[in-house]
């Protein structure tokens, strides 16, 4: 049997940069192939090159045979009879890949109108059927909605519906679950696995997440620096990786990291304490006052927690659950509407007087390392800034202290003169951590510090934080949507949902015996290497 897709020696160059270098693979009808690799490894570019969805200046060579026709040599109109009809594609962020001004139904219908003879009423009915296939509740209402009115998971489903419109033979999925919450991610993966079985859909699934790929695919390609480094059935690659890089990738997966002996929660007096914190955005409007409603949007309804010295508290929850807002209130970036923050037993006012002194003890590290660093300050200047501003050490010693801090976070000394744009994401995050450590803080609040990083870097940053905690006896508040990370790092955990703390306790007991259905759903959604693949 000839394969559905035969990719031979595919190379892609953007000017001087080689993005994909000599990639060769076949895809049989009905098969699902996963491509994993870190950001910049060329996996997405490979996927886009198959459909020639790259900027016109890109140089693509090799051949991509789809049912015997070379997609790379087809004319644009010929290619358009295949795009959307025979090969469909879904993308990473459903929010930006849908036209904000067009109703969901119309966007799903576009491919139908373009490639089939359906007209008017029949198109709409087919749209509703498709939305039903991707398990969107109330398809009628959803079809008339605009993208901003739907949640991320719903938008991704709608995008899948649009891709399935003409019953394509091949679905290219480019990181389709990366931008979604864990529980939503699981449901979308389940949907893809189900569609594969029911519609005999062939699939190429690109992701940086081995766990996600394991859930859907049976074969795996591993890419690194534009090259294919390993291929084989998913289970074989995971259980017996051959290439050095694959081994590293698998070893970095939270499943494989040696679980740490979690220290017993210390029993000392609380170092940081939140009492009845309520945070809301937007004030009362006149109409709210008249009707006696609470105005604005309540991001955190009521939060009580304590962090004892040396403890690491994890805060988990999906996007929109208020965890980042809560963290920001701890360093005074958001002023709580009610409640107060206690530091070392005394009431602290993080956004008011005493802010400067308080912040020397409590530091926040942000989620996006590139955005948290000024693009015009060198690494050295960025770390030196708090030292100088707060006169934390004599002026003559600043540079020596910077070098010390850089060594602590494992940054090579020759990076000192670089700008953030010349660093990798992991290095940037180290700079941000070093900058926070410059204060010699007692509490470090880490807001999703590993989410924007690749798995291997994620593992390294986690190790770094663990090391720092051990060396300095740091107290940490660690916010993440990733339960695997929390489980590895934290002594105790609180679970947030829609602004409320629904469950709290020592990590082990919360994970092993969750009391709430919501917590159980979150735990079930952790992608494992040996997934329940089809």
């Amino acid at each position: 049997m000839t394969p559905l897709l035969k990719v031979c020696d595919l190379s892609v160059r953007f000017g001087q940069t080689v993005a994909v270098d000599g990639v060769t693979f076949d895809l049989a009808r009905g098969a699902a192939l996963g491509i994993v690799g870190e950001s910049g490894s060329g996996k997405s570019v490979t996927c886009r090159a198959l459909m020639r969805l790259l900027p016109p200046a890109t140089n693509i060579s090799g051949s991509v045979e789809f049912e015997g026709r070379d997609l790379l040599n087809l004319s644009e109109p010929e290619l358009n009879t295949i795009r959307g009809k025979r090969i469909a594609m879904i993308f990473q962020s459903p929010a930006s890949h849908l036209d904000p001004l067009m109703r969901i139904g119309e966007q799903v219908a576009e491919a139908l109108v373009e490639h089939t003879d359906l007209k008017g009423r029949a198109v709409w009915e087919e749209v509703l059927r498709l939305l039903d296939v991707v398990r969107i509740p109330d398809p009628d209402r959803c079809a008339r909605a605009y993208p901003h009115q739907l949640s991320g998971g719903m938008k991704q489903r709608a995008m899948i519906a649009g891709a399935l419109a003409c019953q394509p033979d091949l679905l290219l999925a480019d990181e389709p679950t990366t931008a979604l919450d864990a529980t939503v991610q699981k449901s979308v993966l389940d949907l893809l696995a189900q569609l594969r079985r029911e519609q005999n859909l062939s699939m190429i699934f690109v992701s940086h997440d081995l766990g996600a790929v394991a859930r859907v695919c049976d074969d795996l390609l591993v890419m690194r620096r534009a090259k294919l480094v390993e291929r084989g059935p998913v289970t074989r690659v995971i259980d017996a990786p051959q290439h050095e890089y694959t081994k590293q990738l698998i070893a970095s997966h939270p499943d494989r990291l040696a679980s740490r002996q979690v220290a017993a929660v210390s029993q000392g007096a609380p170092l940081l304490e939140a009492q009845g914190i309520q945070i809301r955005y937007g004030g009362k409007s006149l109409a709210d006052v008249l009707t006696g409603r609470e105005g604005g949007f309540v991001a955190v309804k009521h939060a009580d927690f304590v962090v004892r010295p040396g403890e690491t508290l994890g805060i988990v929850g999906e996007s929109g659950s208020g965890k980042t807002t809560l963290a920001r209130s701890l360093v005074g970036l958001v002023k709580p509407h009610k409640g107060e923050v206690l530091f070392d037993g005394a009431p602290a006012d993080p956004s008011g007087r005493g802010r400067v002194a308080y912040l020397r003890d409590v530091q926040l590290i942000y989620q996006h390392p590139y955005e948290a660093l000024s693009p015009r300050l060198t690494v050295q200047a960025a770390i030196a800034e708090p030292l100088r501003r707060h006169r934390l050490c004599p002026a003559a010693e600043v540079l020596r202290r910077v070098a010390e801090l850089m060594a602590q976070v494992d940054l090579a000394p020759d990076l000192a003169k670089r700008l953030p744009g010349q660093l990798s994401g992991g290095q940037c995050q180290r700079v941000a951590i070093a900058r926070a450590l410059a204060f010699n803080p007692r509490v470090l609040i880490a807001d999703e510090v590993t989410s924007a990083l690749d798995v291997t870097l994620q593992a390294q940053v986690m190790d770094l934080l663990l090391k720092l905690q051990k060396e300095r006896g740091l107290t940490m508040v660690f916010i993440s949507h990733d339960l695997a990370v929390i489980r590895r790092l934290c002594n105790s955990v609180i679970v947030m949902r829609a602004g409320e703390i629904v469950e709290a306790g020592p990590t082990a007991s919360v994970f092993d015996a969750p009391q709430q259905a919501y917590t159980r759903a979150l735990i079930d959604a952790i992608p494992h290497l040996h997934g329940d693949a089809a």
């Binding site: 644009e76 795009r83 036209d99 001004l101 373009e114 901003h148």
Partner: protein, 304 residues
């Protein structure tokens, strides 16, 4: 809701126009009756026009009159201000609409052309001409056009408004053209950059992956999304055109609001200036309101 917001704005405008005219040096009654009138006549007229009352009483009277649609009487022409405005306003409105009608087709054609071939020769030339159009002062251009097309070639009349509708179009062509020459480049710049931004959006990729042709993606996705940022600028420009009509109307002797305004200020015709300012302000508010409604129609994320 937005209509409600317009009320305080109108109040503010009425206070400012009122205060400005009161603060302007010069006595309108003296201008009216000449230097040789007896003090009795002046006092009688003052009383008749209500100019001897305390300022807040004058303002209160002004507001109550406004509420009944009475803008007062022109000191110069001795006719109600509303009548003067009714005469001049349609001319300016016609000019502004005419300018808009002339402006829009080249704006769309040039920005689409320039954005589709970014940095190509056409794009470069369009951008260069745009800078030129912006740099040339309107009054100077208006004079040049009047001289060349009106006097040398004799194609278009250079003053007045004409009596019939076709004559209006002919008479106002040059004024509209001179205004258009600086409006087009501004809008082309914005629309071109909006188009370029939207062309790189992710949903364009989705469209391509669906096999929609380039033209279809452009028409159905890129263009509607690009119009939004331009629309707000467009509203500002339309408002500005109303006020900016002063220059071209003076150069081409068009009997519109701009001309009325300038002449009334020079003659210290209090009530006409107040009334005209108020009408300008109201038109601007209406234009902004209309644009808000149109944006809400295009963009579902905006609530009117």
């Amino acid at each position: 809701m937005r209509l409600l917001q317009a009320v305080p704005v109108l109040f503010g405008v009425s206070i400012i126009t009122f205060a400005l005219m009161v603060a302007t040096p010069g006595d309108p009654i003296r201008l009216l009756v000449g230097d040789h009138a007896s003090p009795e006549t002046v006092a009688a007229l003052r009383d008749q026009y209500g100019l001897d009352a305390p300022i807040h009483v004058q303002y209160l009277k002004y507001i109550t009159n406004l509420a009944t649609g009475d803008l007062g009487k022109s000191l110069r022409y001795r006719v109600p201000v509303s009548q003067l405005i009714a005469q001049h306003y349609p001319v300016t409105l016609f000019l502004v609409l005419y300018t808009i009608v002339l402006t829009l087709p080249p704006v769309f054609a040039l920005s689409v052309w320039s954005a589709k071939r970014q940095n190509g020769p056409a794009d470069q030339i369009i951008r260069l001409l745009g800078v030129l159009g912006l740099a040339v002062p309107v009054f100077w251009l208006a004079l040049l056009l009047a001289r060349f097309f009106g006097v040398t070639l004799g194609w278009f009349p250079v003053s007045g408004f004409g009596a019939t509708i076709p004559a209006h179009f002919l008479h106002l062509f040059l004024p509209a053209l001179s205004t258009m020459i600086w409006v087009v480049p501004i809008l082309v710049r914005t629309l071109r950059s909006a188009l370029l931004d939207e062309m790189n959006r992710d949903y364009v990729l989705t469209g391509m992956a669906k096999g929609l042709g380039e033209r279809q993606i452009f028409r159905k996705h890129i263009l509607p999304n690009s119009i939004l940022p331009t629309l707000n600028l467009f509203a500002v420009i339309v408002a500005y055109l109303l006020g900016g009509s002063v220059i071209v109307e003076t150069v081409y002797a068009v009997p519109g609001m701009g001309k009325l305004m300038v002449e009334s200020i020079l003659a210290r015709d209090y009530f006409v200036v107040q009334g005209a300012t108020l009408v300008f302000a109201m038109t601007t508010i209406l234009v902004m309101l209309a644009v808000d409604v149109v944006s809400a129609l295009i963009d579902p994320r905006v609530t009117p």
